[in-house]
Point group: C2
Chain length 305, copies 2
């Protein structure tokens, strides 16, 4: 069977088509501001074939489950959009719509780093921070919106967030946070390695992580700084959940050890009672930044009519 999974984030959408569980096609698209259903349809049609039996959608923001109504998200246009119903009418196949981190957790448990784990947390790092909670093998949603920890108050005197509040965790642990740090360094040292590398052009988080991977010590320091802030927040989540495992996914999460090494060190230091408890493994998502789209396609395979 064929299913499509799409993952709609703040700046891009990824669509995959799975044929009998194998990735048969994959497309990245930049998300345009515009009606959400059009954004979703554009991504889906990029990988569509006529034998597709079901579609899964993961989307950054508050999604009512199982109704598939997109209530609201800071990085995506629209409120109270009945996306599942609109897409089913347009496509003629069953559609499941869920929070992007929830579908990624589903993907990680089926085919990623969480195989064999029943109690784990997924933290996605991209334009912002997303999250999913898996308890006894199922996504825990609370009343609907559990795992929305990108805007928990990490530092009351911290940076202004685009949500209008101050000191949200994602102001210091996200792709935009890494870009902000790089810009600050280039401003402080216009003769330095980063300024030499990037000049005056607009940079992305990927640019900075690529520079770190290429051995630029300043870029490595910035990735470690973001990793430290990731770790400080993870320590709080670990104190709260005492999980078997923490998985870090999303575009920035896929950077791996240069980010997760500092995160683990800081989390171990920050965890209260740390001499009397073990830090759980903190691992990179097995499906990398594709966890969400692949998980959405797996989710679709569970709901075909």
């Amino acid at each position: 069977m064929s299913t499509i999974g799409i993952d709609i984030g703040g700046s891009k959408a990824l669509a995959v088509r799975l044929d009998d569980g194998v990735v048969a096609d994959e497309r990245h698209t930049a998300t345009q501001r515009g009606p959400l259903v059009d954004v979703a349809l554009a991504a889906i049609r990029g990988v569509w074939t006529d034998d597709v039996e079901a579609v899964g959608v993961g989307i950054a923001g508050l999604v009512q489950w199982p109704e598939g109504v997109f209530a609201w998200g800071p990085h995506v246009d629209g409120t109270d959009v009945p996306l599942k119903a609109l897409l089913e009418e347009e496509l003629g196949v069953p559609v499941a719509v869920d929070n992007d981190a929830n579908v990624a957790a589903f993907g990680e448990r089926v085919a990623g780093a969480a195989r064999g784990f029943n109690d784990f947390l997924l933290v996605t790092l991209g334009t912002g921070i997303g999250g999913a909670i898996v308890i006894d093998g199922s996504v825990f949603r609370g009343e609907s919106f559990a795992g929305e920890w990108g805007h928990i108050r990490h530092d009351p005197g911290g940076l202004l967030c685009d949500c209008g509040k101050r000191g949200c965790w994602e102001t210091v642990a996200s792709g935009p946070a890494l870009v902000r740090l790089a810009r600050e360094v280039m401003s402080l040292n216009p003769e330095g390695s980063l300024a030499g590398r990037f000049g005056s052009r607009a940079i992305t988080g990927e640019d900075v992580t690529a520079a770190a991977d290429a051995g630029d010590e300043v870029a490595r320091g910035l990735v470690a700084e973001v990793g430290s802030e990731l770790g400080r927040g993870l320590a709080n989540l670990i104190a709260i959940f005492d999980p078997e495992l923490v998985i870090v996914g999303g575009g920035l999460g896929s950077v791996g050890e240069s980010l997760l090494g500092p995160a683990r060190r800081v989390a171990a230091e920050a965890l209260h009672g740390g001499n009397h408890r073990l830090l759980p493994p903190i691992l990179v998502a097995g499906a990398g930044p594709r966890s969400g789209a692949i998980g959405a396609a797996y989710l679709a395979s569970t709901i075909r009519s």
Copy 2:
């Protein structure tokens, strides 16, 4: 049947004996520093009768479940104490030992404010902050120590905590936090109402809440300040869990609306996406500061041999 439940906190222990589910006896004792088993036995013996069939113990700190080993707690002496085994040997009846907030959550679900609720959080305010997570009607423990949120980092530039770290939530939302605020006010205004009321004597959190209840506006302001910091932390927990209900227990929690009113207002303001989601009810524990001891006695009734 008769069961005993005890709740061992940082500064006091409460013991209750339930005869057929009704509180038949109740004793408060100040906890002495000393071997934990002796502290527990002193509390148990205060309400002991020869027909007691089982004993439940709630204790502030990290407890391995179901082994009943007290791993560590900042306010209680001893590490890795096999308390369940030691008490069973001494008393000759089955004993269950659990974290104090977990037994309080059990009590609230059986006979308190959480009757009929399956997904709720309990936050206990006393010498520190404790917590319990109930999911699908059962206490969620993670690997063992879930709900330990008193020392999550509430403010990185905040006050030094007795745990050695800075800015833990309980530095600003606890009985000692209220006492600290009252001392500061009395120092700032030696002619004011609080200084007039208390003079130079040592004061407790109960003194301050009693002054607030008696209409002292300054004391009411301090209780509201602690309530606000409670609310800021609750907003984070609500974002993470999206629970049906939040219950505030412990000695300070029993103060009620003068604390919870400000907590609700601040939590509603701080909750991300708050226009698109409902703040769950935030209620005072139905069994008040006795939730833990009563819950421990109920827990005991489930484990008698």
